[in-house]
Symmetry: C2
Subunit: 339 residues, 2 copies
């Protein structure tokens, strides 16, 4: 069986630890992938690449079309743009798919029935990166919403719901205030919804929608929403499952797909071997499905679940069972032992 | 004792019911206020006042400088602008102060220790209302952040913390992406914080900040944040106390102050006499303190609390005690009986 070339970046902070743990598990599970490493992030930023990435890395990404990415640190200061955003926009990764699932009682949570997928628009909105100084005292940032952008993400959400046996897609916008931009998003949602009579639909204004998500997440299934709201909602939902450290994400484009944890590089705990590799590991599971290795994906996912079910986890999580707190590497070993 | 003239709008939907219940309680408590009624909202929008308010209402507001406002409905359609936003901006109500408090076990909540105040910037951000069509397919909305705007709201938050015995002010922004606009907000926060060495400070990126709020609200005290984030965070926090229907707000300007519930006009349950007047009643309590009638305010607040503590509440709430579900008017009577 031939191996699939996958571009891999270890990233900054806890990135190298969790990426190595993830790759060890994938290798032991028999994933047919050939990692091609690229350097991105801090090192690049500070060596003159103001975008945090070098030309050969772009070539690798465009050649392999599949990217497993560790978290990166953007240095403070106006000169440095977020590499996450640069990659998403440059490669046209328009859909950011973020499943959030509770694993109670193995991971402690107030919301044991949480099982949702946030489909976040990933290129537009305030993330378009158009910000400027109007005068000494006034600054502006442009929120940009286009019809093609809305159509792509809304259609993706409905197709995802259908192909994953999900029953409802909820649209969250603030179209009572932003009648043109968020209004367009909701209008397109309504237009496309009629093509999916098998999927229920619903709309929330983002304020009360976020509030309902924070109190009754079991009411939601798939949520489709503009970029910034999706950023906020996905951290909320992930943290409610027990930790933001559990949630994976797939950044999907027409050609290229990138898989990463939704959490950041956590420099405060970097190098201590205590970080939770679960977010990136579950992202790798999504990647394996994406490249047609669904069986390996299931094997990894089940072993990961079995590990948690036996009360073995990293220090960030709390379980309701008798527990065994292990290091990043110890957790990887435990998963491997259960493959 | 002379009465203070207060402009009052009954509003739309459940507005008239909850405003009458509130005024009945204030009257029974001996509040020294003289309501001056204005018409705003649906009726005005549909009778040719595209802003939902007529010139004589503005005169009343400018004359009395204190406004108790029922919720209003903005008709759907591009032609109608939110009256809430118009009033806040026209009258310069720069601070939107939203206390959110849990009343467990009298109101059921997963978060019994929640006791925070969200100080939301109330005039700028995407709410500046500058939205336009760039082409047939592309729309833009301007996010506007000014130094004077940031200074006013941040100073208000610190002054509020100090005068209310609060210990910490948390700033929530997305300045890793919006380095100029949100960056300015946080820069001003840091500058002003040094003048308040007695108050602890903290910063969260809005995504993980909202997530922490949704899972560990007891970690927060006062939160200061730009307009849109404040809109979302305050609905989250209020709903987590048991219902968005419990939370009041004070919209504070240099000259004029407006007091309202944070919830909307709930047309689906309007006219049934089941709405919860608590949000508006607690806003009226804030108003009484504002006009120097703190004793009456305390009397009303205590009677309201005693009512809940005896398990008497409207249908929207759940308590953990033996309960008696009453109508809007029944709830007002119960509060009055406990004054
Ligand atoms: C790191 C940051 C740019 C990023 C975002 O805001 O999208 C992160 O919060 C995420 O959700 O992936
Ligand atoms: C009704 C709406 C314009 C308003 C807002 O977005 O500010 C409301 O949600 C609020 O929080 O007061």
């Amino acid at each position: 069986c031939e191996k699939v070339a996958v571009t891999v970046a270890l990233g900054d902070g806890i990135g190298p630890e969790i990426t190595r743990a993830t790759l060890d598990i994938l290798a032991a599970a028999g994933a047919r992938i050939a990692p091609e490493y690229i350097d991105i992030g801090e090192k690049l930023y500070l060596s003159g690449h103001s975008s945090g990435i070098a030309p050969d890395a772009w070539e690798s990404l465009r050649r392999n079309k599949v990217f497993l990415k560790g978290p990166v640190t953007t240095p403070a200061g106006d000169g440095y743009k977020s590499l996450n955003v640069t990659i998403r926009k440059t490669l046209g990764l328009y859909a950011n798919v973020r499943p959030c699932v509770s694993y109670a009682p193995f991971v402690a949570t107030l919301h044991p029935k949480l099982d949702i997928v946030i489909v976040r628009e990933n290129e537009e909105d305030l993330y378009a990166g158009i910000e400027h100084r109007q005068s000494d005292e006034v600054f502006q940032c442009l929120k940009l919403i286009s019809r093609p952008g809305c159509e792509k993400i809304v259609r993706y959400a409905f197709d995802y719901a259908r192909s994953h046996g999900r029953k409802k897609v909820t649209c969250m916008v603030k179209d009572n205030i932003m009648k043109m931009t968020d209004g367009l998003f909701y209008k397109v949602f309504q237009e496309i919804a009629v093509e999916y009579p098998d999927i229920a639909t619903e709309r929330y204004i983002i304020d009360i929608g976020a509030a309902r998500l924070a109190t009754q997440p079991q009411r939601f299934d798939v949520i489709v929403t503009p970029n910034l709201y999706g950023d906020i909602l996905s951290d909320i939902a992930a943290e409610m499952t027990g930790s933001v450290g559990l949630a994976p994400s797939a950044n999907i484009g027409e050609q290229i797909a990138m898989f990463e944890a939704i959490h950041g590089s956590a420099p405060d705990i970097a190098g201590q071997g205590v970080a939770n590799p679960s977010g990136l590991l579950l992202a790798a599971v999504m990647m394996l499905v994406h490249i047609g290795q669904a069986e390996v994906a299931a094997r990894v996912h089940n072993a990961w679940l079995a590990t948690l079910e036996e009360g073995i986890h990293t220090a960030d999580l709390q379980g309701e069972q008798s527990q065994q707190v292990v290091s990043t590497a110890g957790f990887a070993e435990a998963v491997i032992a259960r493959l």
